[in-house]
């Protein structure tokens, strides 16, 4: 008898839950924010969430989209492709979102966006830079960041022309993002007439890269390019410095977080580390009010925070203009129109890539901050 009661309660709860869902439909636009909210890349998930949250608050305060309030729903993919797929299905099937901001890691974005595309839901990633994200002919997928084939080029140019490095090591983390970036850098390095002295992958989640560092030292490299995230970049640069290898480390946007300094074991180790990232969104005049709002709330809008804010602005603009949340119309509108965002005006090409995105080189300094390399 007891078991039967339990079942009944569950049924009731389910029924009430559904009632809640259907009631929520009127006057509310549900937008998923998916990324690594936990796990070793959680700092980036927080950037996406914070950015979207403030954007939603600002838009809602101005009366929402055509009178409908935005409601954000969080999805945590831990930067794991399997988890990303589960989150994507949950957002589509049970949360019934009408658009998605996300994901972060390219390896998660790729499988997840297929789910959104199949469901006809607009999906815009603020951060996944792997070229393949927009190269698969998916109709509803966009991004508000650059591509690794642009980022890798910027990295290679810097290594060859600015650092004048002769013996370049190219290291990656065997992940879609990291290896893709390293490959793009390597390809451009070769067109510039250089050649890497070593090209190898380390294992994500490990902390001991001493064997690799000794090898790099033995090869007398004068620059190390790393495609990966801060969780591995930190220990790598620390062990390089500990073993007395002072070559600069150049990475991509996977280390754009002050957490990189913690992972490296302190600001003293991050000197001589460079990274490519879009022109600092915090310095774009359109974004000043938003940056001030973040800082007033005690949060530094670093990395992808403003990208996420801009992504929600783009979604809101498209919904507002088309008067619907139907994916085909939204996608068509974004292809044809320009959106005013906190990061300046943005428009997209036929694939869903940004028109005119530019990468800038940043250098980490001894006080644990990053600044543009002049």
């Amino acid at each position: 008898m007891k078991r039967w009661h339990g079942g009944l309660t569950l049924l009731l709860a389910l029924a009430m839950g559904m009632a809640g869902t259907s009631r929520a439909w009127a006057g509310e636009i549900r937008i998923g924010v998916a990324g690594p909210m936990s796990g070793s890349s959680a700092a980036f998930g927080e950037q996406l969430w914070r950015g979207a949250q403030l954007a939603a608050k600002d838009i809602n305060a101005q009366g929402g989209i055509n009178g409908n309030q935005i409601r954000l729903i969080q999805g945590d993919d831990v930067c794991e492709p399997k988890q990303a797929l589960a989150v994507a299905n949950r957002l589509v099937d049970s949360d019934r979102v009408q658009a998605v901001i996300g994901h972060f890691c390219s390896s998660s974005t790729m499988p997840a966006t297929e789910v959104y595309d199949e469901a006809g839901i607009l999906g815009i990633t603020p951060a996944s830079t792997n070229p393949k994200v927009t190269e698969r002919g998916l109709q509803y997928i966009f991004r508000t960041c650059g591509r690794d084939d642009q980022q890798g080029v910027a990295g290679a140019e810097f290594v060859v022309k600015r650092l004048k490095a002769q013996r370049v090591a190219v290291i990656h983390d065997k992940d879609t993002y990291g290896q893709g970036l390293a490959d793009a850098m390597k390809a451009h390095l070769r067109t510039l007439g250089g050649k890497e002295v070593i090209y190898e992958g380390l294992t994500r989640g490990e902390k001991d890269f001493n064997a690799l560092v000794t090898k790099l030292k033995g090869l007398r490299v004068d620059a190390v390019y790393f495609g990966g995230l801060h969780g591995e970049a930190g220990p790598l640069v620390r062990q390089m410095r500990e073993q007395g290898l002072d070559a600069p480390l150049i990475a991509g946007d996977g280390i754009v977080s002050e957490e990189f300094v913690v992972a490296a074991g302190g600001p003293r180790y991050v000197k001589g580390v460079y990274m490519t990232f879009g022109a600092d969104p915090r310095k774009i005049p359109e974004g000043k009010r938003v940056v001030d709002a973040f800082r007033a709330a005690g949060y530094e809008p670093e990395g992808y925070t403003l990208y996420s804010y801009a992504t929600l602005q783009a979604i809101a603009a498209a919904i507002k203009a088309t008067g619907s949340t139907e994916g085909t119309g939204l996608a068509q509108w974004l292809h044809d129109n320009e959106v005013q965002t906190v990061m300046g005006p943005k428009s997209w090409d036929a694939k869903g890539d940004l028109k005119g995105s530019s990468y800038v080189m940043y250098g980490w300094t001894e006080d644990g901050k990053y600044a543009e390399v002049q």
Partner: protein, 305 residues
């Protein structure tokens, strides 16, 4: 190939191996006594990294200035607390299921490891955590065309690993606790008939194994400086591999397995390819198990009639 590079890679491997070995001891002790794998062991090591940072901060806040004293107290406190964690894991995941099927405690231990991981994630945050650099300085050895360097922390790692192994081996062979452990290992029911409280012995073994993971946690945190709630997984798997390689159930085997694994990874990574170092390490494991199914130092299981 330059001699100093080979030397440096051997040092790298030795240090990595000592860390694996220290954690492997926990796996091997539990297996030796109750014939089961403690899947939550890697997470206990992860917890110990957090405990290290907490105790370092606390002791410094209490005004302790002398670095050796702070480090020593941190080590003792971390060992005590991880031992408590180990004891709790036994209480929650193993004892209630003693006498049930062999698989049940495995599953409950995996459950405990998920609980620990997420408990730390929620209570401490998912971000990387770090401690400031406390011990600096290194020894340089001249070798042919270059130098082999080993930092003071790394020397401490090797020394502490050796010392802990010696103490543990002494406990096992020369104390009444050790005798009871070995008796329980050989025949639990007979030991009970002779007055050994096997429940207490098993709990003690879990606590001892966890304390060793605590030692590893302190040393690793001093060496690498940063950690997150997820470090227990990869390291736990590697340490488990080391225990199997050395012969699960054998204390010196765990240490030997750790060092062999560490050296294999380091040398392969250094002279062949970093991408496939794990493949190489596991290939060695497979080869060893083909010819010596009970590991390098393990004794073949005697069929009890």
């Amino acid at each position: 190939m330059d001699l100093h590079i080979i030397g440096q890679q051997a040092v790298n491997g030795l240090i990595l191996g000592s860390i694996y070995g220290l954690i492997a001891v926990g796996y091997t002790m539990v297996y030796g006594i109750i014939g089961m794998i403690n899947f939550a062991h890697g997470e206990i090591y992860m917890v110990s990294a957090y405990l290290t940072a907490i105790f370092l901060a606390l002791l410094t806040a209490f005004g302790l200035q002398s670095l050796p004293v702070v480090l020593f107290l941190t080590l003792l406190l971390t060992m005590a607390f991880t031992a408590l964690y180990g004891w709790t894991v036994e209480r929650l995941a193993y004892r209630p299921l003693r006498g049930s099927t062999r698989l049940a405690p495995w599953i409950s231990a995996i459950g405990i490891s998920l609980v620990l991981q997420n408990y730390v994630r929620i209570s401490q945050g998912a971000r990387n955590q770090g401690i400031p650099v406390l011990l600096e300085g290194k020894f340089r050895l001249q070798a042919a065309a270059g130098t082999v360097q080993i930092t003071h922390v790394q020397v401490v790692i090797v020394l502490v690993a050796l010392a802990s192994m010696a103490v543990l081996t002494w406990i096992m062979h020369h104390t009444s606790l050790g005798r009871c452990c070995r008796a329980t290992q050989q025949d639990r029911r007979m030991a009970e008939l002779l007055g050994v409280d096997s429940g207490r012995i098993i709990a003690t073994v879990f606590a001892l194994g966890a304390a060793m993971a605590g030692v590893a946690g302190v040393l690793v945190t001093l060496n690498y400086g940063s950690f997150d709630f997820y470090i227990g997984f990869v390291t736990g798997i590697k340490a488990f591999t080391a225990a199997v390689l050395g012969g699960i159930g054998s204390l010196p085997g765990a240490m030997l397995g750790g060092v062999v694994l560490g050296l294999a990874e380091s040398l392969f990574s250094g002279f062949v390819n970093t991408d496939y170092k794990d493949v190489f390490a596991f290939a060695i494991l497979v080869l060893v198990l083909i010819w010596r199914p009970s590991g390098l130092l393990g004794r073949p299981e005697v069929e009890k009639v």
